[in-house]
């Protein structure tokens, strides 16, 4: 009994550690399975988009004229049934007829028969095609009218198929994901910076300054948003980096309102009053005390703003106002896919899946963060 009354020694050793808001929030977030899965999936997509284009072996703007709109496939191109017609096609450019086409692993052995002696320089047409490598003559007969040629086959993989110009869709989707994510982050960052500073200043100053600043936000609110965006496109031309800085500069309105609301309650806290009493200047109070304490809802709003901006970019690209060729974004790919949905469904399918997955992940992360940071809302 005496022994039982004593607390285990290891409990006493550690001093009690307080848990901060952020630590608790992290704990709650880790327990949210949907949010954690989303973070992992999104991280994977982001890595794939950044490093993927280096690994696919196709530059994102490389055109394969012989592989226009080929379906997605796990097998290498050319397919067995493509080889023969293509050999015949090249042979006709060499001004000869192809006979005895035999595929031997990665090589084709073909006999070219011409009415006149075949000009061997024309064999370069084999190499110029996307299907074959440099041709090598192994036998000549009939004063060069017959010749046996070995042609290596160039194997290419198009896991997502190719687009209407014959560009690898996997590489383009990754590149597009890169562009879309970058745009989403950039515009959101701009929106957050402007919104937080504006909202915090307005809320903290209060009084007439607050009234005027928020009245300006109200007026901007009732201007049709799409009008704003189109005017920005008109002003900045097709420079999408500038444009999305501008889109961010339009999206800050909600942020400003949220932060202002937060600031109004933070302003009454003792630590702010203490800082005021100590004679800290307004700028310092806003920077050191107000803004850091509004960051909870800001983080949540940020994860929800990124998908909104990505969707907006897709929408603009769909209208043809966004990213310009040969650069690409998910919206561009989707709008091209929508035009070619008959006969080339893969062109719509894969970019759409990528976009929806990214948006889904961001939304789940946003929801998870909100639940984690604001437990009373659950």
């Amino acid at each position: 009994m005496v022994e039982g009354a004593v607390l285990p020694a290891e409990v006493l050793k550690d001093p009690v550690v307080g848990r901060s808001l952020w630590a608790e929030a992290r704990g709650r977030l880790v327990r949210n399975r949907a949010a954690i899965t989303s973070i992992i999936v999104l991280g994977f997509i982001a890595l794939a988009c950044i490093f993927g284009p280096l690994l696919t072996g196709h530059p994102f703007d490389k055109v394969y004229p012989d592989y226009v709109k080929v379906p997605a496939s796990l097998e290498a191109y050319p397919k067995a049934d493509q080889i023969e017609p293509n050999v015949e096609r090249v042979a006709s450019r060499v001004r000869a007829k192809a006979e005895n086409i035999a595929v031997e692993g990665d090589k084709i052995r073909v006999t070219l028969v011409g009415q006149r002696p075949i000009d061997e320089r024309l064999l370069a047409y084999f190499e110029r095609s996307d299907l074959f490598g440099a041709a090598k003559v192994t036998e000549r007969a009939d004063e060069g009218r017959r010749m046996v040629v070995d042609v290596p086959i160039k194997r290419n993989y198009f896991f997502f198929g190719t687009d209407t110009n014959g560009r690898d869709l996997l590489t383009r989707t990754m590149k597009a994901g890169q562009v879309s994510l970058a745009i989403g982050l950039l515009a959101t960052f701009v929106a957050i910076v402007i919104g937080v500073i504006y909202g915090a200043t307005s809320g903290y100053l209060g009084g007439r300054a607050d009234l005027i600043m928020m009245r300006a936000v109200d007026v901007l609110y009732s201007l049709p948003f799409i009008f704003f965006v189109i005017m920005l496109v008109v002003f900045f031309g097709r420079n999408f980096v500038l444009m999305f800085i501008a889109v961010g500069a339009v999206e800050w309105l909600d942020m400003a309102r949220i932060v202002r609301g937060q600031t109004l309650s933070i302003k009454r806290q003792e630590y702010v009053q203490a800082a005021e009493a100590l004679g800290v200047e307004t700028k310092g109070i806003i920077r050191r005390h107000v803004i850091p304490n509004t960051l909870g809802p800001v983080v949540v709003y940020m994860t929800l703003l990124v998908p909104k901006v990505i969707l907006l970019e897709s929408f603009l690209s769909f209208l043809g106002l966004g990213v310009q060729e040969p650069n690409t974004s998910l919206g561009v790919l989707i709008s091209e896919g929508a035009k070619n949905i008959q006969g080339a469904t893969w062109m719509l399918l894969y970019p759409s899946i990528t976009l929806v997955t990214i948006l889904f992940c961001l939304n789940f992360i946003g929801d998870g963060l909100r639940d984690a940071l604001d437990p009373k809302d659950r």
């Binding site: 109200d218 007026v219 009732s222 201007l223 049709p224 799409i226 009008f227 189109i230 005017m231 008109v234 002003f235 998908p307 969707l311 897709s314 929408f315 769909f318 209208l319 106002l321 989707i334 709008s335 929508a338 949905i341 008959q342 469904t345 719509l348 759409s352 976009l355 929806v356 948006l359 889904f360 939304n363 789940f364």
Partner: protein, 306 residues
């Protein structure tokens, strides 16, 4: 109440004026003009065109002319669609957009509200998860993906519905555009209704009703009334956006609504058309904000505006 509405309508006028002013000068500041073609017009032709459309006057005077014309209800001639005035274009396009938007809105409220309420009543059940999942899906799939997929499935593969076109507003032609317009709204309405219902079902007045042993239908009606408030405040701006048309849906389905005028007008520097659209959209936004406030007062007796 009446005096409140009157006051609100009066206070909308300066806001509207400000919006018109900003839009007017913004579009005029944009480089290029309505008559800039690939091959420039002859100087004399250009001069005449500018004179006809009063573009040769100083900007301030043009602004004044435009304002006084708008007050008289005259939106001026369209620069690009030369045979029409902007008023005529709206007279033809607005009914189309409003029909589609109105149907989509009612559909969204009906379906979204029902789904949200059911999900809230059966919280953490299978139905709840299905509704939340579908809600997330409806929010994330962009409408320019849904529309072509529907066209392929319902229009081409099954051949149930016409693929595109207005066809004088035939009901079959309306189905697909309305679905595409309504889907994201259904998702939002369901989500908001669910959240608000859950909160409401836990509140004191519902507990009182339960303790009195009232039938569950009565309880649901009372909870719905409370849950409607946040949904309505969302639906105000959403309704304004829906009723003034969607560029994407109208482009994909080839509908003669007013949604396209914004994009076409701004890109072609069709000043009067853009300005007209801005005014129409702003009026809708202001009007629906007022409607929201009035509905608030009707639903929530604690709110008094007098």
């Amino acid at each position: 109440m009446l005096s409140y509405i009157l006051r609100r309508l009066l206070s909308a006028i300066p806001t509207l004026l400000l919006i018109v002013t900003i839009a007017f000068f913004l579009i005029r500041l944009a480089p290029g003009g309505p008559f800039d073609l690939e091959r420039p017009l002859e100087a004399k032709v250009m001069e005449n065109l500018n004179k006809i459309y009063q573009l040769d006057k100083p900007l301030i005077e043009q602004y004044w002319l435009y304002l006084s014309a708008v007050v008289r209800g005259d939106f001026g001639p369209s620069f690009i669609l030369r045979d029409f005035t902007v008023g005529e274009l709206f007279a033809r396009g607005l009914p189309v957009s409003m029909t589609l938007g109105g149907l989509a809105l009612s559909f969204a409220i009906l379906v979204g509200g029902t789904l949200g309420a059911v999900a809230a009543l059966r919280q953490n059940s299978l139905i709840d998860y299905v509704v939340t999942g579908m809600g997330a899906l409806g929010l994330t799939i962009p409408n320019f993906v849904v529309a072509p997929v529907l066209q392929i499935v319902l229009g081409l593969a099954l051949a149930w519905l016409p693929i595109a076109g207005w066809n004088g507003g035939a009901p079959l032609n309306l189905v697909m555009p309305v679905i595409v317009l309504a889907l994201p709204q259904i998702a939002v309405v369901a989500r908001m209704t669910r959240a608000a219902m859950i909160e409401n079902l836990r509140s004191n007045h519902i507990r009182t009703l339960r303790s009195l042993g009232l039938p569950s239908l009565t309880i649901v009606v009372h909870a719905l009334r409370g849950a409607a408030l946040p949904v309505i405040s969302y639906l105000g701006p959403a309704a304004a956006a829906l009723l003034t048309g969607s560029v994407v849906v109208e482009t994909i389905f080839g509908l003669p609504g007013i949604g396209r005028y914004f994009v076409e007008g701004a890109l072609n520097r069709d000043y009067t058309l853009v300005m007209g659209t801005v005014v129409v959209v702003a009026v809708f936004v202001l009007l629906f904000n007022l409607v929201v406030d009035i509905l608030y007062a009707i639903i929530d007796p604690r709110i008094r505006y007098d």
